[in-house]
């Protein structure tokens, strides 16, 4: 087992474990923290995949921005413990959901498992670097990239419109 393989299993196991903890965590803050852990491990996996820029973005945006935002809202609303875990009125759908998720996992895995496909040894020059990604974003994905700015602007407007109380003067 090569080093990278070992790292894959370590990062993978940690990511998966923290993901499970996110989902099962009793406390929203704990979940958020586990989420960060998962993100870091994923960043590690990105590195293994030669996606260095992605790894950086992952940490900056996901772990840095999004999770912080989520934590911030949790604190703001003080809803970390708010949700009772017992007495669900929709237990059937939940348990059914778990079964279905299991089925889905099995089906997905059954399609993916057989037949090992390896990675090519050789990678093009500059794969995963900022430059190469930048080239793509400003050439091939220029329009999409520009559209992302629209998206983000729209999201800001939306967030302001919704969260800003004065948005609606009289009911």
């Amino acid at each position: 087992m090569t080093g990278s393989a070992l790292l894959f299993y370590v990062f993978g196991a940690l990511a998966l474990a923290s993901a499970v903890l996110v989902v099962t965590g009793k406390n929203a803050i704990a979940s958020a923290v586990y989420l960060v852990v998962a993100f870091f491990n994923l960043a590690g996996l990105y590195v293994l995949l030669e996606a260095h820029f992605l790894a950086a973005s992952q940490i900056l945006v996901y772990a840095g921005a999004i999770t912080v935002l989520i934590l911030f809202v949790i604190m703001l609303l003080d809803v970390s413990q708010l949700v009772r875990l017992q007495g669900s009125r929709n237990a059937i759908a939940r348990s059914l959901g778990i079964v279905l998720a299991g089925l889905f996992a099995i089906l997905l895995a059954s399609q993916l498992a057989p037949g090992e496909v390896g990675f090519p040894e050789k990678l093009p020059e500059g794969f995963g670097t900022v430059e190469s990604i930048g080239d793509l974003l400003f050439d091939r994905y220029l329009l999409a990239f520009e559209l992302v700015s629209v998206l983000l602007l729209a999201a800001i407007v939306a967030a302001v419109a919704i969260a800003h109380r004065e948005g609606e003067s009289t009911p």
């Binding site: 997905l108 399609q111 993916l112 037949g115 496909v117 050439d139 091939r140 994905y141 220029l142 329009l143 999409a144 559209l147 992302v148 629209v150 998206l151 602007l153 729209a154 999201a155 407007v157 939306a158 967030a159 302001v160 419109a161 919704i162 109380r165 004065e166 948005g167 609606e168 003067s169 009289t170 009911p171």
Partner: protein, 498 residues
């Protein structure tokens, strides 16, 4: 870059710039210049429509193949522009009444329209993904725009959470499609699949198609991915319901048509059966579910699910005869826009600050107090039911015609029978309007609101929808197999004088 072909995205740019303009106006002139924002929006939508028409028969491939322009895209762009126009026209009275902050409202409306316009013209997975999210994010926000109303925010949260959930599937599908082909460009993907003899990737393609179908089924509201539809339609502010019931549907179907029959034709063995099953479930499920509804918005929501089913049948047919089925789908979407917005617009006309009249029982006896509105609402209902001589009939005729032609006889039979169930609940509305006596005294304010200046916009929307709902039934000359021929003539005229 020589192959930018910027003209191909003039409509999209117009819509986006319009949004920025409204935003800027809000900053400059203050946030309550409702009329200004409305006019800006209308102008943007109109220009977008005009640009679409000007480049009507043009085919282009712009931004390194990220977007394309062809007749189908033009038609979809026109539909999106028209829907935006109608949505904006429906808005002012309602927005005023509920004290919406107009600048952000119209900004979001235009941004979502921009997203839709990009979605229907995108020729690249990344492009499609981003534009889809752009429109979704805006529509989530618009759904929850009545922030003080429980229903609105609840609908928005459900929409958002489930939408994001679906986005996960969609993106996963995109990922597998990319994994199967190594490309995100539709043309390249299509070429790859058409070439056949793929290696281990072929399995990825199938997985990708399945996941994409899941994600898109959510967006178009196919059974069993439809469950958000009634809650969101009911919760959303009515103008937004009107807008998204047609615009989101049109753009999502535009994308579906672009993706499945055009791009993934090589995989039709995988998706056609699924799509057929979805179509069947959706047609029957939507109609059956609508039967139990008493709230008109909810009823129309389920009805829109049913219509999605018919359209899905069209998409399935497009696997066999793309041209004819595409035309039928586009025609259907166009007609559907008018008749559905029309129905919502009438509801909006009936709303008053005191009371929203969204229940069937609220409509009782309306034909005596508001004969014209009752007649128009009945017209839209009959159109939705597909009764000639309305556009609803013609649209169904083309669509089921295409399905039959493509060999989906059983589906067509079951679908059209389910439309008989559909007729029942549309007729329920007519029953309430004409055959029941009012349960509560009818207040007079709707008439008053119709007289107000901003009510004028709404009245215009209603009349426009009514005229076109009928016109498309009677005239409906598909030039390009898509649009009435005089529209074609108009385009020629404009192009000639340019």
């Amino acid at each position: 870059m020589n192959d930018l072909h910027l003209f191909a995205i003039y409509p999209q740019i117009t819509l986006g710039l319009g949004a920025l303009l409204v935003l800027g106006e809000g900053l400059v002139f203050g946030k309550n210049r409702h009329g200004l924002f409305l006019i800006t929006t209308l102008v943007a939508a109109t220009f977008s429509l005009a640009f679409t028409i000007l480049s009507w028969k043009t085919t282009a491939n712009a931004f390194a193949g990220a977007v394309i322009l062809d007749p189908t895209v033009s038609a979809l762009l026109a539909i999106v522009s028209v829907c935006t126009l109608l949505g904006a026209l429906c808005s002012p009275a309602y927005a005023n009444r509920h004290g919406f902050e107009p600048a952000n409202y119209y900004t979001l409306l235009l941004f979502s329209a921009c997203g839709m316009a990009f979605l229907v013209s995108s020729n690249d997975l990344a492009m499609a993904f981003v534009s889809l999210e752009t429109l979704s994010v805006c529509v989530y926000a618009l759904t929850g725009y009545r922030t003080r109303q429980d229903a609105s925010t609840e609908g928005a949260v459900k929409y958002f959470l489930l939408g994001a959930f679906a986005t996960g599937f969609l993106l996963y599908g995109i990922s597998f499609l990319y994994g199967a082909t190594g490309s995100t460009n539709f043309s390249e993907i299509a070429t790859r699949f058409a070439a056949g003899n793929m290696g281990p990737e072929s399995k990825f393609a199938v997985i990708g198609v399945g996941l994409l179908l899941v994600g898109l089924s959510f967006k178009v509201g196919a059974v069993p991915f439809h469950m958000w539809v009634p809650d969101v339609y009911q919760g959303a502010p009515t103008p937004i319901t009107a807008f998204m019931s047609v615009a989101v549907k049109a753009s999502a179907f535009g994308f579906l048509v672009r993706l499945l029959p055009h791009t993934l034709m090589g995989l039709s063995d995988s998706w056609v059966p699924i799509l057929s099953a979805l179509a069947l479930l959706t047609m029957i499920g939507g109609n059956l579910l609508a039967l139990a509804q008493r709230n008109l918005k909810r009823l129309l929501a389920y009805s829109s699910v049913a219509h999605a089913g018919y359209l899905l049948l069209g998409v399935a047919s497009a696997s066999k005869l793309p041209d004819q089925a595409d035309a039928a789908i586009l025609y259907y979407l166009l007609v559907y826009s008018f008749m559905n917005v029309g129905a919502f617009a009438v509801l909006l006309t009936l709303n008053s600050p005191a009371r929203e009249r969204n229940n069937l029982s609220d409509l009782a006896g309306l034909s005596e107090s508001h004969p014209l509105l009752a007649a128009l609402l009945s017209l839209f209902m009959l159109a939705l039911a597909g009764i000639p001589p309305t556009g609803g009939f013609t649209a169904k005729f083309y669509l089921f015609g295409a399905a039959l032609r493509a060999g989906y006889t059983t589906l067509a039979v079951l679908g059209i029978l389910s439309s008989v169930i559909g007729a029942f609940y549309y007729l329920r509305v007519v029953v309430a309007l004409y055959m029941e006596s009012p349960t509560r005294p009818v207040s007079n304010d709707p008439a008053a609101s119709a007289m107000a200046p901003r009510g004028l916009a709404l009245a215009f929307a209603v009349l426009l929808c009514a005229v076109l709902s009928v016109e498309l039934g009677l005239q409906s000359l598909p030039g390009l197999g898509i649009f009435p021929s005089y529209l074609e003539g108009l385009t020629d005229f404009l192009v000639a004088t340019r």
